[in-house]
C-alpha cells in the first residue's frame, strides 16, 4: 500500500506543481460594480416586497369584510321584510276577525 501511494505521489507531483504555479487572477472592477448593482436591486426588492404583501393582505381583508357586511345586511333586510309582511298579515287577520 505504501509503495503504491508513494508511486502516486511521485507521478502526481509534477501535475500539482503545474496547478500550483497558476497565477492568481484579479476580479475585475466591472465585476465588482455588477455585484454592487445586483445587491442594490436586491435591497430595493426586499424593501418593496413586504410592502406589496401587506397592501395585498389589507385589500383582501377589506374585500372579505365588505362581502360579509353585504351578506349580513341582506339577511337582516330579508328577515325584517319577512317580519313586516307577517305583521301585516297578522294585522289583516285581526281586522278580518273583528
Amino acid at each position: 500500500m505504501k509503495i503504491a501511494s508513494s508511486n502516486i505521489e511521485n507521478n502526481m507531483e509534477h501535475t500539482f506543481d503545474l496547478l500550483n504555479n497558476m497565477k492568481e487572477v484579479d476580479a475585475s472592477e466591472i465585476l465588482i460594480h455588477r455585484i454592487q448593482q445586483k445587491i442594490e436591486i436586491d435591497k430595493k426588492n426586499s424593501i418593496s416586497t413586504p410592502w406589496l404583501f401587506s397592501i395585498a393582505v389589507t385589500v383582501f381583508i377589506l374585500l372579505c369584510f365588505n362581502v360579509f357586511t353585504v351578506a349580513k345586511n341582506t339577511k337582516i333586510n330579508d328577515v325584517l321584510s319577512l317580519a313586516k309582511n307577517m305583521n301585516l298579515l297578522i294585522n289583516d287577520n285581526i281586522y278580518n276577525e273583528q
Partner: protein, 171 residues
C-alpha cells in the same frame, strides 16, 4: 463585518476558486456574483463560530458545484433540442482560464479535464489542498470532515486523477 469590506477582501479568493471549478471567465464571474449575493443575504445570520473565510469558502464551493450541475442539465437539454431542431450543440464548457501561461495551456487543460471527471468531494479536496494550498486541517474544516477523512479522500482523488490522466494520454 461590513459587506463592502467582505467584498473587497475576498473578491479574488472567490473568483479564483470559481475559476478552478469552471475554468471559464464568464462562468466564474457569474458564480462570484451569486456567492456575494448569498453572502449579503445571510450576513446577519452568520454566527462567528467559524472563520469568515471558511464560511465564504463553503458558500463558494456550493455555488460552484450547483452552477456546474445546472450547466450539465442545460447541456443535456440543449442536446435533446439539437436532435429535434437539427442544430449543432454549443460547447458550453469552453476552457478559458486566465491564470495559465500560454505554453502550459494544453497540459493544464488536460489536467483539468481529468480533474473534472472526479466526484464533487474529491474534486473539492484536490482544489483546496493542491491549488489553494490549504492544510489538511483547513480542508477538513471547510468540508466539515475529519482530517483523517480528508487524507483518505485526497489519496483516492490522486489515484483517480492519475487513472483519468492515463486514459486521456492514451487517447
Amino acid at each position: 463585518m461590513q459587506f463592502e469590506t467582505i467584498l473587497y477582501t475576498y473578491k479574488n479568493m472567490v473568483y479564483n476558486l470559481a475559476l478552478q471549478y469552471v475554468q471559464n471567465i464568464e462562468d466564474a464571474e457569474e458564480i462570484t456574483q451569486d456567492v456575494f449575493v448569498a453572502i449579503h443575504h445571510s450576513l446577519n445570520s452568520f454566527k462567528q463560530n467559524a472563520e469568515v473565510s471558511t464560511w465564504i469558502y463553503r458558500i463558494a464551493i456550493n455555488k460552484s458545484l450547483d452552477y456546474l450541475k445546472r450547466k450539465k442539465r442545460k447541456k443535456r437539454f440543449g442536446f435533446i433540442v439539437s436532435i429535434f431542431e437539427n442544430q449543432e450543440t454549443m460547447d458550453v464548457h469552453s476552457f478559458n482560464h486566465p491564470g495559465i501561461e500560454l505554453e502550459q495551456k494544453q497540459t493544464i487543460q488536460l489536467i483539468f479535464s481529468a480533474l473534472n471527471q472526479l466526484n464533487d468531494q474529491q474534486k473539492t479536496a484536490i482544489i483546496l489542498s493542491k491549488i489553494e494550498n490549504k492544510s489538511q486541517k483547513e480542508v477538513a474544516e471547510i468540508m466539515k470532515l475529519t482530517p483523517k477523512a480528508v487524507e483518505s479522500l485526497i489519496m483516492r482523488a490522486k489515484n483517480n486523477l492519475l487513472k483519468n490522466l492515463k486514459n486521456k494520454e492514451g487517447l
